[in-house]
């Protein structure tokens, strides 16, 4: 998979440096600029996968960068960063067409997960998903553990795919139902529990665990 091209717009040198190192360690190609004007120029000339954009920038601010980007009808996903947590900022950013919003200081894992989620939303589905020894081939809709094929029902497959797409994220049972039943079929929360307990048996030796979040949902973790 090609390295994801991330444009990082942040005027604080220490934060920009730390962010770019961390993102690079997650196999991303990071281009750092320190002000809004430069960011606007980069976005006009090159195609980036995602923009991580600070709102409080010298020159034109983050809001203006987003406004200009969307005015050019560009669909590049934008994750706003801000030191202010005023709700007006949040609402304004999202109204202007930003896709997500994080308040500094953020948990690094959260930032990486959100960036990946934004890119995934925009990009075609990858051919394969994997965690631990488990691999899901999204074309053939087959699951493998180190080359051995696992037999899964359609619904079990859907649940496992959704969990794997959001590895390390807590997913509520309702979220899982909404994700695997896009056409409004009825499914009880109990049914999700049944699928998960079957999946646990089938992927017991895959080096991953489906952890139960009591009363809420599940989280797929690497062991």
């Amino acid at each position: 998979m090609a390295r994801m091209h991330v444009l990082l717009v942040e005027d604080d040198a220490v934060l920009a440096d730390g962010l770019s190192r961390i993102l690079q360690s997650h196999a991303m190609m990071v281009e750092v600029v320190g002000n809004g004007t430069q960011a606007d120029q980069v976005l006009q000339r090159s195609e980036v996968a995602v923009v991580v954009l600070d709102i409080g920038l010298p020159g034109i601010d983050g809001f203006e960068v987003v406004r200009r980007l969307r005015a050019r009808a560009s669909g590049v996903p934008v994750l706003l960063l801000t030191a202010r947590d005023a709700i007006e900022d949040r609402v304004r950013g999202l109204e202007l067409g930003a896709d997500d919003y994080l308040v500094k200081p953020f948990a690094t894992a959260e930032l990486v997960a959100r960036i990946k989620a934004l890119v995934r939303r925009n990009a075609p589905k990858p051919d394969a998903l994997s965690l631990g020894r488990l691999t899901l081939d999204t074309c053939t809709r087959r699951a493998h553990i180190e080359g051995r094929t696992i037999e899964l029902s359609v619904r079990e497959w859907a649940v496992l795919e959704y969990l794997l797409q959001h590895g390390g994220r807590v997913l509520s049972k309702q979220q899982i139902i909404d994700a695997i039943l896009p056409w409004g079929d009825e499914l009880t929360l109990n049914a999700v529990e049944v699928y998960v307990s079957r999946l646990r048996l089938k992927i017991a030796d895959a080096g991953v665990t489906i952890r139960t979040i009591r009363g809420f949902g599940y989280m797929l973790e690497q062991q």
Binding site: D12, A13, V14, L15, A16, D17, G18, L19, R21, I22, S25, A83, R84, D85, I87, V103, K104, P105, F106, A107, T108, A109, E110, R169, V170, S172, I213, R214, G215, F216, M219
Partner: protein, 447 residues
């Protein structure tokens, strides 16, 4: 310290008592003088009656006073009447021979003593022929004294009743007059902490308006000062966020790079810990500034599903609880309430954080929300050490920490209480089920 009430009472009641006293004396005199005159008239009549019976017989003055006439003169059920009619040379023509009182050189009646009893005496000189005759009449003052004491009794009773009624009326009027002050006082006293809204000048009497206006000006200044302070605090916190974020990322990167060196890992993890504490403290200060009751804007209220508000923090707390092997569970039933979503997120964040922070490793924390009557309740149950009943109020105070071991900021539950207050919700702490740990409940009222 001066009291308006005491001053008013002193200046009203004192003079009124004096005036009443003067009035009573005047009334006494007005009642007593005619009575005195009437008595003296009685004496004069008696003297007249005796004088009319004088005549000149055999060259000397004599008096024609039969026994019946004398009895009639003396007839009185209460007072004793003494009289004497003396001719020249102290010759007694009639009456009491032992009438001891000599005539005084006074025109009217006067008081004297007779047989050990006070008497009123009237002497008159009359003439019978050529002889000068002195007629003296004395009457005991029993009836007079009776009348006088009756007058005094009536006056004392009347004046006492009047005075008491007046004092009562004055007391009542002063108290009623000062009622707006008491009203204002109780209004000010019942204000929420940090409520610096001006006093409504419409509801105070004209006399208090200048005072209230001046006080409102002061409140304005205090409000402006508080706002400036809060803005400054928020500004500082915001300014610190970016460097702290950079600091944190650099530490994490360094940690990943030196994962193989236990000494570095140890040192870096300590640095990360204090970095996180700084971040937490700053976020808490910002949350506290937001939670200021005077900052609460009713316009921001919207209908919210409590369960939906809890969901976004589930990921964070599952991770936090995971670090301490705490079994965190949820039971989130959809329930609507009117609130400020931003503040409610702060509230939710702080109640769960509090439970996870104070629950020891391998404990349990359960977050619940559900309808409760017409309102909503958010409950957090933990298996931590709990809080002794007498300390349960204490934990809602700013910077209150029950022990030094934990790493809390001491602001969490103060924020929770401020936000709950702003939403008209109550926060209570009870023993956990099976008396282990505790249950913190935030009860929101009717939607």
């Amino acid at each position: 310290m001066t009291s308006i009430r005491l001053r008013l009472l002193k200046w009203l009641i004192g003079p009124i008592l004096l005036i009443n006293l003067a009035g009573a004396s005047l009334t006494y005199m007005l009642a007593w003088i005619p009575a005195q005159l009437a008595f003296d008239q009685g004496l004069a009549d008696a003297v007249g009656a005796l004088a009319s019976r004088l005549h000149v017989g055999s060259g000397a003055a004599s008096i024609d006073l039969p026994a019946e006439a004398e009895a009639m003169l003396r007839a009185n059920d209460i007072d004793a009447l003494y009289f004497v009619v003396r001719g020249s040379g102290a010759r007694v023509l009639a009456g009491d021979r032992d009438f001891p009182v000599q005539a005084r050189n006074e025109p009217g009646a006067y008081e004297s003593t007779m047989l050990g009893e006070p008497v009123r005496v009237l002497f008159r000189t009359s003439r019978a022929g050529d002889e000068k005759v002195q007629i003296g009449v004395a009457k005991t003052m029993r009836k007079r004294l009776q009348v006088r004491s009756a007058i005094v009794r009536a006056l004392v009773l009347l004046e006492t009743v009047f005075t008491l009624a007046l004092v009562g009326l004055i007391w009542f009027s002063v108290t009623t007059g000062l009622l707006p002050l008491a009203h204002m006082r109780s209004n000010l006293k019942n204000r929420e902490m940090g409520d610096l809204a001006p006093i409504d000048t419409e509801s105070v009497p004209v006399e208090l308006t200048p005072v209230v206006a001046a006080f409102n000006e002061l409140l304005d200044k205090v409000q402006a000062g508080a706002t400036a302070q809060r803005d400054f605090l928020a500004d500082v916190a915001h300014q610190l966020r970016t460097p702290l974020a950079g600091f944190k990322l650099q530490l994490e990167w360094l940690g990943a790079r030196h994962a193989g060196d236990p000494e570095s890992v140890h040192s870096l993890s300590l640095m990360l810990l204090s970095n996180e504490r700084m971040i937490r403290q700053i976020n808490q200060l910002l949350a506290l500034a937001r939670a200021e009751p005077s900052h609460f804007e009713k316009t921001r209220l919207e209908m919210l599903d409590l369960a939906r508000l809890v969901e976004p923090v589930v990921q964070y707390f599952v991770e936090e609880a995971g670090k301490k092997h705490i079994d965190i569970g949820f039971d989130l039933q959809p329930v609507m309430l009117a609130g400020d979503s931003f503040l409610l997120r702060d509230l939710i964040d702080n109640v769960i954080d509090n439970a996870v922070r104070y629950t020891p490793e391998h404990g349990t924390v359960t977050v619940r929300c559900r309808p409760d009557g017409a309102g909503a309740v958010l409950e957090i149950e933990d298996s931590g050490p709990g809080i002794a009943p007498h300390q349960r109020e204490l934990v809602f105070q700013r910077f209150a920490r029950l022990d030094d071991k934990s790493s809390g900021t001491g602001l969490g539950l103060a924020i929770v209480r401020d936000i709950a207050l702003a939403h008209g919700a109550t926060v209570s702490i009870a023993d956990g089920p099976g008396r282990a740990g505790m249950t913190l409940a935030v009860r929101f009222g009717r939607v």
